[in-house]
Symmetry: C2
């Protein structure tokens, strides 16, 4: 079913990525994951640094996951999060084209 919208797929996608990054906690999380690609990044690692409840952090992680920017590798009871490289590359490309056109 083709997207029934006035806006282009590109515009919708840009807006979706932007929205995912529109909260300082989520910027923090992405920053954390980017700077620690080698480390295991558990929810708890970030929860210790961030001044928000664990359930709230969990929601932010879910939103980033829904936007496709991150993924969680389940290893109960831990969940190791990391950047979704494909989406991240796409986001990079789109932002860079948009910003530098």
């Amino acid at each position: 079913m083709p997207k029934d919208s006035f806006y282009t797929e590109l515009h919708e996608k840009m807006a979706r990525y932007s929205k995912a990054l529109s909260h300082p906690a989520r910027i923090y999380i992405m920053d954390f994951l980017i700077r620690n690609t080698s480390k295991c990044c558990y929810s708890g690692d970030m929860a210790e640094e961030l001044p928000i409840a664990r359930s709230t952090l969990s929601q932010h992680l879910k939103e980033l996951k829904n936007a496709g920017l991150i993924q969680g590798e389940i290893n109960p009871p831990y969940i190791r999060y990391c950047i979704n490289r494909d989406s991240w590359e796409e986001a990079k490309r789109m932002f860079s084209e948009f910003l530098n056109q």
Copy 2:
């Protein structure tokens, strides 16, 4: 008064710019303004293309203005909008650093 927040100025700013771009209509507007730097860009020009009420468009313009991304040159009854080059350059720099770190 120093910002009393856990997050850095940079993170706050990134989130603010992202939020400004978190709606397809606002992506559309920015795109329009970027592609028409030579033209006069009146609210009405965009209102004719966008499938939203003029008052709604006006609100989106206000948000982009509040985020510092655009500015309006008043020439009643017209208002000519354009990219705020300084902020735009800053946003470019910040996004590119963030995305490519």
